[in-house]
């Protein structure tokens, strides 16, 4: 049965989280986890900064809005990301992530009919500099 895509949640902010200060251990653990060897990101020291994909590891209070349309399906999978990467993250930075529903659309693929919801998360530091803008496509079926 065809159910029209409910776009009423598009534009809605569903999470705003300020995280504890980033630590050197956070950065080093993240870099080690995917085998990063660049000295600037993988060795302790005063010049340590986080690898550019570090901000993807931030998890706010709500990963998804509570009021997503109920017809989307029971299973959600990460279908892809588009990220604009800004200033580097350093130990001591206090990051804030604000997430909104950016888009909803339908398409069909190998696994059948799917609804895609795009969540946009804007990450800034305590100086209000943009660290990243992450568009995450979640596939529901």
């Amino acid at each position: 049965m065809s159910v029209p895509v409910d776009r009423s949640v598009v534009g809605q902010e569903f999470d705003r989280t300020t995280f504890p200060p980033v630590t050197a251990d956070d950065i080093l653990a993240y870099a080690a986890a995917y085998g990063e060897t660049d000295a600037g990101w993988s060795r302790p020291g005063p010049d340590l900064t986080a690898p550019p994909t570090f901000s993807f590891s931030l998890r706010g209070s709500h990963f998804m809005p509570k009021n997503l349309p109920t017809h989307l399906g029971r299973h959600a999978f990460d279908a892809g990301k588009d990220i604009e990467i800004g200033v580097a993250v350093r130990p001591g930075d206090v990051l804030t992530a604000v997430s909104t529903v950016h888009d909803i659309y339908e398409k069909t693929g190998r696994t059948g009919a799917m609804t895609f919801v795009v969540f946009r998360t804007a990450v800034t530091n305590e100086r209000d500099e943009t660290v990243a803008v992450i568009d995450q496509k979640m596939m529901f079926r």
Binding site: Y34, D38, P52, T53, F56, S57, R59, G80, I85
Partner: protein, 136 residues
């Protein structure tokens, strides 16, 4: 060290060849605050209807980041995008590759665009994407 001047459209970056272990996938998921069962074990993933443990999509992005920044450590990764076409599973040989598709310079800076592919050893494209490197 790669500089903007010597980069040419069509240049292939040195590929990254690896096979993820179950422990590596688990460790990345934990470090990346992604404790979902599907990333932790075959049993938990199968309970969600998956064939077995899978790597988070973010892990593929991290590998692309590693590939790009290893090639051009003086450049800054300014944009990264990817489509997760198929599951990335531990134990499957992987090749992460990139090719330069565009270079352009203006008052705003010097940029190199790359296509990215993560494929299985059998040649199936599991993840595709693009990236922009800024040579400041």
């Amino acid at each position: 060290m790669i500089s903007f001047a010597v980069v040419e459209v069509g240049d292939d970056l040195p590929p990254l060849r690896l096979t993820l272990s179950t422990e590596q996938v688990r460790a990345y998921a934990e470090a990346a605050n992604m404790p979902g069962g599907r990333f932790m074990s075959d049993a938990a993933a199968q309970a969600e209807g998956l064939p077995g443990q899978i790597a988070p999509g973010n892990f593929s992005l991290a590998l692309f980041g590693r590939l790009l920044t290893a090639w051009a450590p003086a450049a800054r990764l300014s944009r990264l995008s990817a489509t997760f076409r198929a599951l990335v599973r531990p134990g499957v040989p992987l090749i992460a590759s990139a090719v330069v598709t565009e270079k352009h310079a203006s008052d705003h800076g010097a940029f190199v665009e790359c296509d990215l592919v993560l494929e299985s050893g059998d040649g199936d494209r599991l993840v595709t994407g693009t990236a922009t490197l800024a040579f400041d």
